[in-house]
Symmetry: none
Subunit: 221 residues, 2 copies
DNA sequence: ATATCTTATAACTTAATTATGACAATATTA
DNA sequence: TAATATTGTCATAATTAAGTTATAAGATAT
């Protein structure tokens, strides 16, 4: 069943949206500010977020920016303003639709349905999957054996580069240049260490990273 | 460098896409309507087109139809509608991908890259194959009789050099210089030993390495 | 055929490369 | 700012490969 997270500091707005969601057969979850919203999305189980722009603690745009760091969940913004600035800004940070206050609950429901179907049918994430490993490049999420695995930024970068170049022998130099940048002149063992960390994070999938002695590594899946 | 032609009548959208292209290292060109788009594609130098459907003068679909008469350039459509009709119609006339507004620029960039790599920027393996031996230089993998064989770095280097110079008589001196380096003054038997190891690894394909008594070796395949 | 030269092989020693754990420096987040 | 997580460095261990030596096997020429 669809779960909608309603984020607004005004309880009146939350109640209205909640009521209409119930009529449509969606279950709901509420949050009073951006921080609460972030932790509820992180906790999982949420399918779509309806978020107000103006809120105490953490405003809507900032909250979306945070959420987009770890999730590609559909987000619809509620904005009191109609200016182009908001629209552009919103799309830039990755919202899926916006609606200006005052809005008719009917219209909001229509938008929810539209975004939902788009998320399900149209827009597909770029995903790599092989064996027990699944890498969602769009959401920046990695699953090992069905379980979600948290990787550090460098681990992500390293894994992403290797997966994108799977089956290709990658020299240590190439990896350092591409993942760390051409201006990195660090320790010889830095790459080893991060390969070690990545392998540890990947658990049973660590074997996909093959050591090519005297050369570098290759990702095989 | 990649040049992206952005076709949209809304300057706001053009600006956002332009900005993200810059972040990705793509240079951009703009057009306000279909007619302008056609002439800019005709002028050349464009690698990919991002085009809105709804535009004055000449709409996106009509413009694509025109462009397809003289060019197979990758085209991604921006559509405000989600209806199936648009999708089908779009692919029919030869677009490469479509994305519905509102869209996240991040996703657009992913699509651009996907279309780019599909258009032929993908990595092709450099492979040598003869009889029962197959050498994948890109993956750095050797197959003998369909089975994968693990070679040590020196074995790889030696094999790669011999395969690259197949059919040519290679003196011991030449081999030592090229594979070991001009500064190597080692034992006389070092080369023998590695030829032995390589032959052992190659199994039934060991006969491809022919001994030229008093001279060196030749790779025959 | 056999003396002589060249190459092949096995066993061994040395060298090089990668993996790892501990820690310090740095950046992030609450 | 304090707490936390991430990144980079270093010393050292583990692993794998390379090089050397002695000897055997095989070719070549006389």
């Amino acid at each position: 069943m669809y779960k909608v997270l309603i984020v607004d500091d005004e309880v009146g707005i939350r109640e209205v949206v909640k009521k209409y969601c119930a009529l449509e057969g969606f279950s709901t979850l509420e949050a009073e500010d951006g921080l609460e919203a972030i932790s509820k999305v992180k906790a999982g189980g949420v399918d779509i977020v309806i978020m107000d722009v103006m809120m105490p603690e953490l405003d809507g745009f900032s909250a979306v920016r945070e959420i987009r760091k770890f999730s590609s969940i559909p987000i619809i913004m509620l904005s009191a303003r109609t200016e182009t600035y908001d629209r552009i800004n919103g799309f830039e940070i990755g919202i899926d639709d916006y609606i200006t206050k005052p809005f008719s609950p009917k219209e909001l429901m229509l938008r929810i349905r539209a975004v939902m179907s788009r998320a399900g049918n149209g827009v597909k994430s770029e995903i790599f999957e092989s064996g027990k490993l699944k890498v969602d490049f769009t959401a920046r999420i990695v699953y090992v054996d069905g379980e979600r695995v948290d990787l550090s930024p460098k681990e992500y970068d390293l894994l992403f580069f290797m997966v994108k170049n799977k089956g290709i022998a990658l020299s240590r130099e190439k990896l350092l240049n591409e993942v760390w940048g051409y201006d990195f002149y660090g320790d010889d063992r830095t790459l080893d260490t991060h390969i070690k960390l990545l392998r540890k994070s990947l658990g049973v999938c660590s074997e996909y990273i093959v050591t090519l002695r005297g050369m570098g590594y290759r990702f095989e899946a």
